[in-house]
Symmetry: C2
Subunit: 396 residues, 2 copies
Amino acid sequence: MNSLVIRNVRPMGGDPTSIIIRDGWISGYGEEVSEGAEILDGAGGILIPGLVEAHTHMDKTLLGMDWYRNDVGPSLLAKIDNERLQRRVLGIDPARQSARQAILAASLGTTHIRTHVDVDTEVGVAGIEGVLETRERHRDLVEIELVAFPQSGMLIRPGTVDLMEKALQLGAQVVGGLDPAGIDRDPKGHLDVVFDLAERYGVPVDIHLHEPAELGAFSMELITERTKALGLQGRVTISHAFCLGMTDQDYVAALIDALAETQIHVLTTAPASRPAPAVKRLVEAGIVVAAGSDGVRDTWGPYNNPDMLERAVLIGLRNNLRRDDEVALALDICTFGGARMLNLADYGLEVGCKADLVLLEGETLPEAVVSRRPRKLVLKNGKVIARNGAIMSAAA
Amino acid sequence: MNSLVIRNVRPMGGDPTSIIIRDGWISGYGEEVSEGAEILDGAGGILIPGLVEAHTHMDKTLLGMDWYRNDVGPSLLAKIDNERLQRRVLGIDPARQSARQAILAASLGTTHIRTHVDVDTEVGVAGIEGVLETRERHRDLVEIELVAFPQSGMLIRPGTVDLMEKALQLGAQVVGGLDPAGIDRDPKGHLDVVFDLAERYGVPVDIHLHEPAELGAFSMELITERTKALGLQGRVTISHAFCLGMTDQDYVAALIDALAETQIHVLTTAPASRPAPAVKRLVEAGIVVAAGSDGVRDTWGPYNNPDMLERAVLIGLRNNLRRDDEVALALDICTFGGARMLNLADYGLEVGCKADLVLLEGETLPEAVVSRRPRKLVLKNGKVIARNGAIMSAAA
């Protein structure tokens, strides 16, 4: 039996204790004797469960590549077209790039990732294959879930639906969609295909919905209707959901009710320049809210990095969460919220949970979040894989 | 003559060269011989002029103090009242705290600061005296300009105007104001006092304007009218200016015209949770736009730190500035924009400018901004005061 004890840790910033880990699972807290166990000193660090990156695009990050000089036009379609072009021009290899992001994310304490992988008539399923390779190669660092994501549209690019099926057959675990009106220009048609794939392959759904205000609200209604009709409660995520930030508060209230009723999850990146879901209100309505970094340093933009503590800060800034309990809520979205969205079994700090853990240096939990220091320890499956912000050489 | 040459630096990310500094001033670039000069290797770093922190509150940061557990109510007045209370309860010493922020800011490459210092009937001018002490003690690290700031209102707290005068007599260089309708409940009365002090003491004006939409717009009109009537063009700043983010675009356009005509500067913190001025539009209209961190880890909120490169990133995120030239604009607001607002003489990288400089590690200028690494070198008045993110022990 493989045992590890980390002494002097403070679970969620509470009282100091020891955590006992056996064969990758949390087996207890306190002064339990554990013969032959490896002993580590937590030095009073704050113990939290692994950070959950619930929305990113690992196949197309430019991490580690030459700086990409961005001079792209402002429209969504211009960015999508440019990205397909740059994939060839720059030689963005999905396996190599997703591996770089996986390692960086793991060093930052992310233990689970949902990544949306482009599927289109140019790249085919090469992106899926590349990220699947990373998923296997780095499975001891981080767990990766793939969404087959039709970034360039499905109905407007014949052949894409077949490729989506192929992606699901290869091992993508979620079917993606995006802007049913905005991109495919056919909200009913787009969503019927997405939900048909979900039914036939028995996979969850995750739809990028950037559509603004009343247009996005209409698409959201179509999604809630299908979720209810097909009995997919708890299996559907709407990412971005900018329409929940619209001004018509009565309409927003009705949408929130519908989301709560159909147990649809909401994923936010907490964008500063767009209307956005009010996370506290959603959580109070019983909706699972998770967070993601979106594209990390890619042809869309330069700012994002995969640090989910920085994301918690951005959630706090976007939602004006200033009190200590509110900062804790922002972190909760980046941990437990993501875990619920990804339907992770055995996630958390309870005895019996998997030992996917992060030890933070900090005075209090909110202080550790806002300070975003290098992570003291990151454990995946009970093994230390990173220390003081750097991946252990044996792990990568 | 005191000479320093830094070899292999890239001004604004351009071609590598050497910079020659004599007696605190930039005396040339290139292969100029400089007998007896100290020689440093810039290692290809990117040279920019010193970062300008154009709006903060150094007298009341909690940096270095025990974590403050924030459970304050959401209203502006609740935050103001709580802050006066905590000043006594926590023992927030303005000299000690402003010194901590000055040293941290300098280590991050900030060479100039405008700080708003509370003046009210409880603290009197003790805050001003404390920050003046820091201004003198750390003048070799960073230049500090003080605004006499009536945070708790002027007309609603009799005696405050006298204290404001005293603050200006003691050495505050700018007269502040805030929310003439929202706090003092008398927009005409409040602004008449502010502008009267500006005239009598010959000092610039900086008014915090959080008032929303049409209310803020009305206060802004009152400010532009007084600026024009008193010939104070170029001497007035409106901080925050949330009303410029309101939905009535015709009204916004009229306000921008009035600001441009009266040469009023706009200061933004790029708040993610509030309507905010669109910085690109203001710059295109010829308005000076500067940026600040606002309160750094204080009783108002935990997130802000005084890193002006992080502020540039937040400006970029808030204003959706994705292209390389747009990231450069965000940095320009945190350098040249602040310098123009503070009316700094001899600021910049030109020969003849003061050698207030920062050397950044980075591939390109935008890459250096978004990566926010520790600053390789910070120079104040031609002297290296920080290296790799840490203040030189002799400097502090």
